[in-house]
Point group: C2
């Protein structure tokens, strides 16, 4: 684990690879390529987990040239119990080998001693846990500062990153996140907390280790949050299969195309379904490269 | 898995056992009884997980007569990776054998397809996952209705229960949860959603499968939330080591002492530290029985 600040590592990779693409690894067994499903050994949860792990590791290889990071979503692996968690770890390890940063999409959030346990699990150093294989984690802010402290400590001491849910990309996000709190929406209250949590965690790049999840589907809100958080890296879900195009992620960037990375999951993971004349890995690789170019055309035009 | 509604099963157990006690299983390795740590085999994460599993299973045995449910917090097990998740499942299985309900304290919350995966993991039926061993789960509401749908389906079809974070017991909970949203605090907006989500999920008891987490440390807020949610079971953390006494949980109950269960974790799990003259299991059992009696004196006095 490099102790260099997470934001520095991430943004250096964006410049070096000319890519702000993060590939979300959210695999659903029924939609894996048939040859991956056929090759998995074992039975039941172990078999499903093996297929997911195999697929995830191969996706990493296929997208390594086009993406700066992968974002495996642990829910899709937890679905298969301890064997699934083994598969999750194998995907993270492969990403590390391939020189990709790993963002564990876990959206955890709990009070002090529990947050400490989650921070150990995802940003700790114990072999046999995800910790040593993960660069950053997504977190839920609902329980406030207490629930962040152990993660902030890991960010400070271990060069790890945090992405706090500020305004998510799903339709019902508005129910709570857009509530009017004394003239300002709740998501800006959360942005205030994110600014406070990240205030003394800025790396050489000027960006903080505490980032924000801000959906591609809400460009107007993104503009406000961008103004409130000028030193914060945005992790942007919702591009691709969730409906947003590259143009919608323009407000998430700072001048010079800095300060945001954009996630695509299904648009890349399921590319083989629409592009079935070639080996599935090649279809996935081509979809990742198309997404990189699409996003890069927007990112590099933000002045 | 009984398909009887979760709230019915839980509240029947409260009456039958004369207990509203839930024992939170949040074990920290350094504070396990020395003999449990010494007996664990293996090395590293596997050894730690084995110790946690052994302790958790023995706690279940020790508290089975006094509690209606256990609430293992998965963070403390995830800390030890896949081996930890195995230990978590072994604790849940033992609780089932002992006739206790199992509330998985996971505080998950994510959008549709991810919520589907979490619902499979925790309320599904696949052997080798927590699902078949769990009666209810704690959930975070920040992403709104989308993030609840797959869980609501499990509640409806499988008799499972959900506990939504409404007002938590930790000091910084106020930062977001108490924000004033058009004259009402955010936690009451969340309560409105909880009422809507649970509206058609009432069992024979009249209580919904969709419950609420409402801290013992905030009796004033509990009163308001109780008025807003008259058909909702409250899961009450914060009693005992977090500082609230039995008197503070009075507002969480409905007339007749109905509609709430109260969690104690450290006050019971660490009882052996203060009561070290007897076998640790006996110290734990005595602490659980003391908590039951303490809570029962309040519960039965709510008219």
């Amino acid at each position: 684990m490099s102790a260099a600040a997470f934001a520095d590592r991430l943004l250096r990779a964006v410049e070096a690879k000319k890519s702000c693409l993060v590939v979300g690894i959210d695999p659903v067994e029924d939609r894996l390529p048939p040859e991956v499903r056929a090759a998995a050994g074992g039975v039941g949860a172990a078999r499903s987990a093996a297929a997911l792990g195999r697929f995830g590791r191969d996706v990493v290889g296929a997208v390594a040239a086009s993406a700066v990071a992968v974002k495996p979503n642990i829910a899709f692996f937890e679905r298969f119990g301890p064997a699934g968690l083994e598969a999750f770890q194998s995907v993270c390890a492969r990403a590390r080998e391939a020189g990709l940063l790993v963002i564990a999409d876990a959206k955890r959030g709990d009070l002090e001693s529990t947050a400490e346990a989650y921070a150990d699990a995802f940003l700790g150093d114990l072999p046999g846990t995800p910790g040593p294989l993960v660069d950053a984690i997504t977190l839920n802010p609902y329980m406030g500062t207490d629930s962040m402290k152990p993660f902030l400590k890991r960010a400070r001491e271990g060069g790890r990153g945090l992405f706090i849910l500020v305004r998510t990309s799903n339709p019902s996000a508005a129910e709570l996140q857009d509530q009017d709190c004394g003239g300002r929406p709740l998501y800006l209250r959360v942005a205030d907390l994110v600014a406070r949590w990240g205030a003394d965690l800025e790396g050489e790049s000027g960006f903080s280790a505490v980032g924000a999840v801000v959906g591609a589907t809400v460009p107007r809100q993104a503009e406000e949050i961008r103004s409130a958080l000028p030193r914060c890296v945005f992790l942007v879900p919702g591009y691709g299969a969730q409906g947003a195009g590259a143009a919608e992620v323009r407000p998430h960037f700072l001048p010079g195309g800095r300060g945001a990375v954009v996630n695509s999951s299904r648009g890349i993971l399921l590319a083989h379904e629409k592009d079935s004349d070639r080996p599935w890995q090649e279809a996935v690789a081509r979809a990742a490269e198309r997404a990189r170019l699409d996003l890069e055309s927007v990112r590099t035009s933000v002045v």
